[in-house]
């Protein structure tokens, strides 16, 4: 991955999105966000489009709670 990072520096952009995904997923894993790859990519795209991350994170938390509540209920 490190080598890939350097390759990314060299400018081959078509590799970069994949690298980027991996990096972000790694960060997300370190921080224990509980997001899987696909959710993460949606979130990234939403953020890139300018959504307020504060609001987005509260939404996600709410949805999770709803899920858990559902789970508990169930």
């Amino acid at each position: 991955r490190a080598a890939g990072g350097k390759a990314g520096l060299a400018g081959s952009l078509w590799l970069a999105p994949l690298m980027l995904q991996e990096v972000l997923f790694e960060i997300s894993r370190i921080l224990n966000t509980g997001l899987d790859m696909e959710t993460l990519s949606i979130c990234v795209r939403l953020c890139e489009q300018g959504i307020n991350p504060e609001a987005l994170s509260s939404v996600i938390k709410e949805l999770r709670k709803a899920t858990e509540a559902l789970k508990v209920m169930l």
């Binding site: 990072g5 990314g8 520096l9 952009l13 970069a16 999105p17 690298m19 980027l20 995904q21 990096v23 972000l24 790694e26 960060i27 997300s28 370190i30 921080l31 224990n32 966000t33 509980g34 997001l35 899987d36 790859m37 696909e38 959710t39 990519s41 949606i42 979130c43 990234v44 795209r45 939403l46 953020c47 890139e48 489009q49 300018g50 959504i51 307020n52 991350p53 504060e54 609001a55 987005l56 994170s57 509260s58 939404v59 996600i60 938390k61 709410e62 949805l63 999770r64 709670k65 709803a66 899920t67 858990e68 509540a69 559902l70 508990v72 209920m73």
Partner: protein, 907 residues
């Protein structure tokens, strides 16, 4: 995973909802609606978009969780992230990840971390309330039911629900107690407020005042976040009237007080002029003391601020004052910077809430330590402000300078810095004055004052004065006098001498002058540099001025000309003039015309050595007729005059010229006496032989001779005294001083001393009025003698003539053969001769009276001389009475000269 980016946010959001909920799109519709609403209403982020800050936060959080390896890994990943260029909104995603992150370690922390998550997600202004309160209404019913059910299921819920959170087992990163929190917020709206209050929103204070009990109860549940808010008092359940203040509140209040704004609990008490904590509040004494100590800073700040604000409105405050205010403002800005750092520290803690922990939170103690140095600074500044009240200009600079004399190096450097700034305008004034002679001082701050009403002829003497109150204390009196002189010289050159070109040396000196370091140099030890500058400027300017005066305006030559003409230095000219004028001046004064006399003057000039003089000088020489009183002869009104103008008039002012004229008058009179006596002597010599044939006259003539000799001696001694002891000596002194003079002031002073001495010694000043009168009386006697003698000679000569005629007729008649003389003729002749001889005793007695009178006057004169305070006059008396002729007659003169001297000194 290569979903195209062109999908709209709505679609993305919907798919997100589906994924998280794990449902199909239809089922997730409600949640989707909700999500859309939330996102739509909180569109703008309330936190600053600083990705670096977020990354730091993440690292800190990881470190705090003792996952250093992960922190390092994150740094690496972040670096990689930084190197790519695809993501434009890195901050956004990082913030999102951070806010979704969870600490896998302790369970209790998780709850509080949720609390902080909530707090972080909250916008900070009061408008954020709809989120919490709106939710219960907008949520779908089943959600609410779910909440209610979950609330019911936990039996220990209630208003103190938060405290029981920790009891719940938490499993996994998405623990169930999430549900509790919205429930709590629904059931006990105050709790959310407590959260907010504990964790950061300022304005939420207003909501908490009705919930005192909750404050104490919440203190148990939240470990880290609450620790700061623990009130020192141990009364936890106490909900009686007094409001408890936590240290965090005090810290916030104190930060406001630092700026001079009243805090919530600490307000300005005007009667005691200090900041005090409101009385109703219950605070431990130590807290109160610490708070008051901190509040002092606010008081000092107010004082300084008040001064600068007042002064900035004052239009006539002047440049020095303005620079002082600017310096104070600068210091205040530094202070504000410190305050903003403290504030941001506070904000940071509020942001992070839990994460920072106790070690770096702001407490009163920490504030005390951090504000210690600023407090000293502010104290110094406040003391300065007090000291400088009501002063401006150079006085203000002196006041600030007084404060540099302190042993504390910190204070000294601060005050010196301010002094440097403050004295900059003064030095500007100074340099402009020294090098250009310009003075633009609208607010009267400089110590040189210019009087605009003075015209150019009095420029040197009256126009520029020293304003003593504005002399700064770091400039000595001598320096300031020199400064005044330098500027005066430059202005004099420009305006009176019409000389605009500064000498090259002066320009060089001006160029080598100031930098902004000069002010600092001035006060450190390089006062020598400043002194040198002044000295150099002084030297150059004065030298140049004297050069101009001497070369262009011939000052010294004019001085010499004064000596020659007005002080009768040019002997041959004066004598010739007197010869020529004698017949004119014998007439009564009213018949004299100026142009006649001027013509005679010119004749005299041309006939003597005076013709070789500078024509410039000769053209200034003139005749002046004084005011005519009745009975005056020409002698009384005649005077010479010397015209002065331009720069010369600065040295030979009008008073000087009038002094000169008085001295001339005196000298002219004395000279006239000499002249008269010469005539008398001539008469003696000429007529003695002729009158040998009249032996009866011999007695009279002899007496005449004796008297005349006495008078001659007297006048001789007087002339000697005047010429040698008075005039020559003073002139020599003057000339020496003038040759060595370094500036115009020296010349003027020397000249005035010269004139004063002459006037005193010539008995013309007010002290010697009596002596002068005596002398005049002597002179009058001489004139009397002349008159008497003339009359006598006339009579005698006439008689002689007649006798000779008689004899001749007799001889002739004898030659013709007639009787030589008839009886009647002879009788007539005898009668006439007898008449003549009878008149001789009358003449004799007249002479005797004259002599007696004269001697009496001279004796009195001598007595006055011996008792005068001037030593040279006493010696004059000695000379006048060298053979003690008068001493024999006048007992008062018999006391010895030494005793006379002592006697006069006792008087």
């Amino acid at each position: 995973m290569a979903t195209p980016d062109q999908k709209s946010p709505n679609v993305l959001l919907q798919s997100l909802c589906c994924r998280i909920l794990g449902k199909s799109e239809a089922d997730a519709a409600q949640q989707f609606q909700y999500a859309v609403r939330v996102i739509g209403s909180n569109f703008a982020p309330t936190v600053e978009r600083d990705e670096f800050l977020v990354a730091e936060k993440i690292k800190k959080e990881l470190v705090r969780q003792r996952r250093e390896a992960d922190a390092a890994l994150f740094s690496e990943l972040y670096r990689k992230l930084g190197s790519q260029g695809i993501l434009k909104n890195k901050w956004s995603i990082l913030y999102l990840l951070l806010s979704l992150s969870e600490d896998p370690r302790k369970q209790s922390n998780k709850v509080s971390s949720y609390a902080t998550l909530f707090a972080q997600a909250l916008p900070r202004d009061a408008h954020s309330t709809p989120y919490y309160y709106a939710r219960p209404q907008t949520l779908p019913l089943n959600y609410q039911d779910r909440n209610a059910q979950s609330a019911q299921s936990s039996c220990s819920m209630g208003s103190s629900g938060i405290s029981s959170i920790s009891l719940y087992a938490l499993n996994g990163p998405t623990p169930t107690p999430q549900s509790l929190i919205p429930g709590q917020s629904y059931q006990a709206p105050g709790v959310g407020d407590c959260l907010r209050q504990q964790l950061g929103s300022r304005l939420a204070w207003t909501l908490t005042s009705s919930q005192p009990s909750l404050q104490s109860t919440t203190s148990k549940g939240f470990s880290n976040a609450v620790s700061r808010g623990v009130p020192r008092s141990r009364r936890e359940g106490d909900t009686s009237g007094s409001v408890e203040i936590t240290e965090a509140n005090l810290v916030r209040d104190v930060l406001y007080v630092f700026q001079g704004i009243d805090g919530k609990n600490i307000k300005m008490c005007n009667s005691e002029n200090c900041y005090k904590v409101e009385g109703k509040v219950s605070l431990s004494k130590s807290l109160r003391d610490t708070t008051s100590r901190l509040a002092e800073l606010g008081w000092l700040h107010n004082k300084i601020r008040k001064y600068t604000d007042q002064r900035s409105l004052d239009r006539a405050f002047g440049l020095v004052g303005q620079s002082f205010c600017a310096a104070l403002h600068q210091e205040l800005k530094e202070y504000y910077r410190l305050l903003s750092v403290l504030h941001s520290q506070l904000q940071l803690e509020d942001d992070q809430g839990v994460n920072l922990g106790l070690e770096s939170s702001l407490t009163l103690r920490r504030l005390l330590v951090w504000t210690y140095d600023p407090k000293i600074r502010l104290k110094t500044l406040a003391a300065l402000v007090d000291h400088c009240q009501g002063r401006k200009g150079g006085e203000l600079a002196s006041a600030v300078h007084a404060y540099t004399k302190t042993g504390d190096p910190y204070m000294r450097s601060l005050v010196q810095h301010i002094l440097g700034l403050v004295s900059h305008p003064v030095l500007n004034f100074l340099y402009r004055w020294i090098y250009d002679g310009e003075l633009e001082d609208t607010y009267h701050e400089f110590f040189v004052a210019s009087d605009p009403t003075v015209k150019t002829d009095r420029l040197w003497h009256d126009k520029y004065t020293l304003r003593k109150s504005m002399i700064p204390s770091f400039i000595t009196m001598e320096q300031s006098k020199k400064v005044l002189l330098i500027g005066k010289s430059i202005n004099f050159l420009h305006q009176v001498c019409h000389d605009q070109t500064p000498s090259t040396k002066m320009i060089a000196v001006a160029k080598s002058a100031e930098s902004s370091k000069d002010a600092a140099d001035l006060f450190t030890d390089l006062e020598n540099a400043f002194q040198e500058k002044i000295d150099a400027a002084y030297f150059e300017t004065s030298k140049y001025l004297l050069d101009v005066l001497n070369k262009k305006y011939n000052l010294l030559e004019h001085m010499q000309a004064m000596r020659r003409y007005l002080l009768l230095g040019q002997g041959d000219f004066i004598r010739h003039l007197m010869d020529l004028l004698k017949p004119e001046l014998a007439r009564p004064a009213t018949t004299l015309y100026q142009h006649n006399l001027t013509g005679i003057l010119e004749t005299a000039v041309r006939a003597t050595n005076a013709q070789f003089d500078n024509p410039e000088i000769l053209k200034r020489l003139d005749v002046r007729l004084l005011e005519v009183s009745p009975g005056d002869t020409g002698w009384d009104v005649f005077s010479l005059d010397y015209h002065v103008d331009g720069p010369i008039a600065t040295v030979f002012t009008r008073e000087c010229m009038s002094h000169y004229l008085r001295v001339f008058n005196f000298l002219w009179r004395a000279k006239r006496m000499e002249y008269i006596l010469t005539d008398i002597w001539k008469g003696h010599m000429c007529n003695a032989k002729l009158l040998k044939s009249m032996p009866e006259l011999s007695g009279v003539l002899h007496q005449c001779h004796i008297l005349a000799s006495e008078m001659v001696h007297f006048i001789h001694q007087m002339q000697y005294y005047i010429t040698f002891e008075v005039l020559e000596c003073s002139w020599d002194e003057l000339w020496n001083k003038v040759q060595q003079a370094q500036d115009l002031d020296h010349i003027i002073a020397a000249h005035e001393v010269f004139l004063d001495t002459i006037i005193a010694r010539c008995l013309l000043d007010s002290d010697s009025r009596v002596l002068l009168n005596q002398l005049r009386a002597v002179f009058d006697q001489i004139i009397e003698l002349q008159n008497a003698q003339d009359a006598m000679y006339r009579a005698a000569l006439e008689e002689l003539q007649l006798r000779l005629q008689f004899e001749e007729r007799k001889k002739q008649r004898e030659l013709e053969g007639k009787w030589g003389v008839t009886a009647s003729e002879e009788e007539e002749e005898n009668k006439r001769m007898k008449e003549f001889q009878d008149s001789i005793p009358k003449m004799c007695s007249q002479l005797r009276i004259l002599t007696h009178f004269y001697q009496g006057i001279v004796q009195q004169f001598l007595v006055l001389l011996t008792t005068s305070s001037d030593e040279s006059l006493r010696f004059l008396s000695f000379r006048l009475d060298f053979n003690e002729h008068y001493k024999a007659r006048e007992p008062r003169l018999r006391v010895s000269l030494g005793a006379r001297g002592r006697r006069s000194s006792h008087m």
